[in-house]
């Protein structure tokens, strides 16, 4: 735990010592704000469903961008040799980096709370529960995409390749339930269950189903496990 925290602090510091994190936060807030407010007064409804539809789209590009350097940068700089010869498990390195990436995503997500405050002030009959579960869903989705991003980052020392691979994987997860018409009926249920959108839509409606939580947790766990294995595989190269 102590080592995870040390790695976490190092990563978070490295995010904020460069302009990258600040640019990310500002652009994330502006893009979401623009698309949300564009339709908010048009629909004239006191809910945040439209925001919960926009943020996953923005995630598709922003999260692979944030996480592309988490491991690949260490590989290209050679510091991976420093960090993996310190008395720390690969698993702890990965978890620390994942949590740092996720923290930045959560801070970005917090910037959208301003729209919730607007809603409280101008709206009526707000379903606060649905807002809460919607945010929980977005946080978990952020976790899934960050775990995918760190996995793709571990595959290469080139950050651009890591970014492209990351986007390819998250878009696959995102599009799965939109392609069900092309899938044999026997597989449709499985493909739908693997889709992030399927689980997120439940949560943005105000439903917390254990299956959704288990899904998000399992996908995060799977990609973090795979990342650890990739990092360990250097030993046998």
């Amino acid at each position: 735990m102590h080592n995870i925290l040390t790695i976490y602090k190092k990563e978070l510091r490295s995010f904020f010592t460069t302009p990258m994190a600040y640019i990310f936060l500002v652009v994330f807030a502006l893009v979401n704000g623009y698309f949300f407010t564009n339709t908010f007064f048009l629909y004239n409804q006191s809910d945040m469903r439209s925001l919960f539809g926009i943020v996953p789209l923005v995630y598709l590009f922003f999260i692979p961008a944030v996480s592309m350097g988490l491991i690949s940068r260490e590989k290209s700089l050679g510091t991976i040799e420093i960090i993996t010869t310190l008395p720390i498990r690969e698993r702890d390195i990965i978890i620390g980096k994942f949590l740092a990436g996720l923290s930045l995503i959560l801070v970005a997500l917090l910037t959208t709370v301003v729209h919730y405050i607007t809603l409280i002030n101008v709206g009526t009959t707000i379903d606060h529960g649905a807002v809460f579960t919607g945010y929980l869903g977005l946080a978990l989705l952020g976790g899934v995409y960050t775990s995918v991003g760190i996995f793709s980052s571990s595959l290469t020392e080139n950050q651009v390749i890591a970014f492209i691979v990351g986007i390819a994987i998250v878009i696959t997860f995102f599009l799965m339930d939109k392609l069900l018409v092309f899938v044999p009926p026997g597989l449709a249920g499985i493909i739908q269950y693997l889709s992030t959108e399927f689980h997120l839509s439940n949560m943005s409606r105000g439903v917390i189903d254990t299956r959704n939580i288990v899904y998000f947790g399992s996908v995060i766990g799977f990609f973090l496990f795979m990342t650890t294995r990739v990092l360990e595989s250097r030993k046998w190269s």
Partner: protein, 315 residues
């Protein structure tokens, strides 16, 4: 303290390290010499747990690196080749990061920081961003990070590469000082550096240990340690080649034809002195001996001999 047993590493079909074995003791400075691609860095990476051996094992105080890597990594300070650093961090932040991973916090960290800052002469740059430091300082920052936990074992991969002569002297003095208390294993291709710093030299070539001993051991243990350089006129090559049959203690290393003379290099063991025999042979064959001089083989000759010819000179 460290025992390497039949250590091998394959990269696909390429055998980078071929079943090498050696032991290292406490408070010893050992130089690990070899040409580029000889297997030095691969061996050091296996000793630090960065790579796993294809076969064999590394034992530190009886514990093997495969099953006890974390325990062994706690005892080792490692400076990798090219000294990778986090350029955006400040020097003290980088050292603190290493200290925290090694469980050195609060008061202990302050003491450790003071110690490495003094030992590595980092007083002027502690609050500077690493990326803005000179190469010499960066090398010392890497060394300070490797020493922050006061390890019993220091493994330094090319610690002086790219440094200017003054910086090399500084690092050499530091390594010599550290070697009084720790086991220091350093790799280098700078022979003078190794000769000036270490107590013992291990030479690796094509993944195999070809020499192991002190600098003096290697020089005296190498056959043909003394060379005789001749410049002669009125000689033909056949009569030069026949010299070996008449004077068995010598070997002919090279014959170079010049415009009006021939330069010949002979080698002989330290126990014999064939100069009189060579002179008599020249007189008998009516050569005009323009020059005769001798030179002793140095470590550079031994290194070239061992790493180019694939010879062996275990002391």
């Amino acid at each position: 303290m460290i025992r390497i047993e039949n250590l091998s590493k394959n990269y696909g079909h390429i055998q980078a390290v071929k079943s090498i074995s050696f032991s290292l003791s406490d408070k010893e400075i050992v130089g690990f010499l070899g040409a580029n691609g000889a297997g030095k860095s691969t061996t050091l990476k296996m000793m630090t747990g960065y790579l796993s051996p294809t076969a064999g094992n590394v034992f530190v105080d009886g514990k093997n690196i495969i099953e006890h890597s974390l325990e062994i990594q706690k005892q080792i300070g490692y400076l990798p080749e090219l000294n990778p650093l986090y350029a955006e961090m400040k020097v003290y932040e980088y050292l603190k990061f290493h200290a925290e991973i090694r469980g050195i916090i609060d008061h202990d960290y302050k003491k450790a920081l003071e110690r490495v800052v003094v030992e590595c002469a980092l007083q002027g740059v502690v609050h500077r961003t690493i990326g803005n430091c000179s190469k010499g300082y960066k090398q010392r920052i890497g060394l300070a990070a490797a020493m922050i936990h006061d390890p019993k074992i220091l493994i330094l991969d090319e610690p002086v590469s790219g440094l200017d002569p003054n910086q090399i002297v500084d690092i050499r003095q530091l390594i010599k000082k550290l070697g009084k208390e720790k086991l220091v294993l350093m790799s280098s291709h700078i022979l003078q550096e190794i000769q000036a710093t270490v107590d013992r030299i291990i030479i690796i070539n094509n993944g195999e240990i070809v020499a192991d001993g002190t600098s003096d051991d290697l020089i005296s243990g190498s056959k043909g340690m003394t060379q005789i350089h001749l410049e002669i006129q009125n000689a033909d090559e056949n009569s030069i080649q026949d010299m070996k049959a008449v004077i068995p203690s010598i070997s002919i290393e090279s014959i170079h034809k010049m415009s009006n003379s021939i330069q010949v290099t002979l080698e002989h063991t330290s126990t014999s002195d064939p100069r009189k025999d060579v002179f008599d042979y020249a007189v008998n064959h009516e050569w005009t001996l323009v020059e005769m001089s001798t030179s002793k083989r140095n470590l550079e000759d031994i290194f070239r001999h061992l790493t180019q010819d694939g010879g062996s000179a275990d002391a």
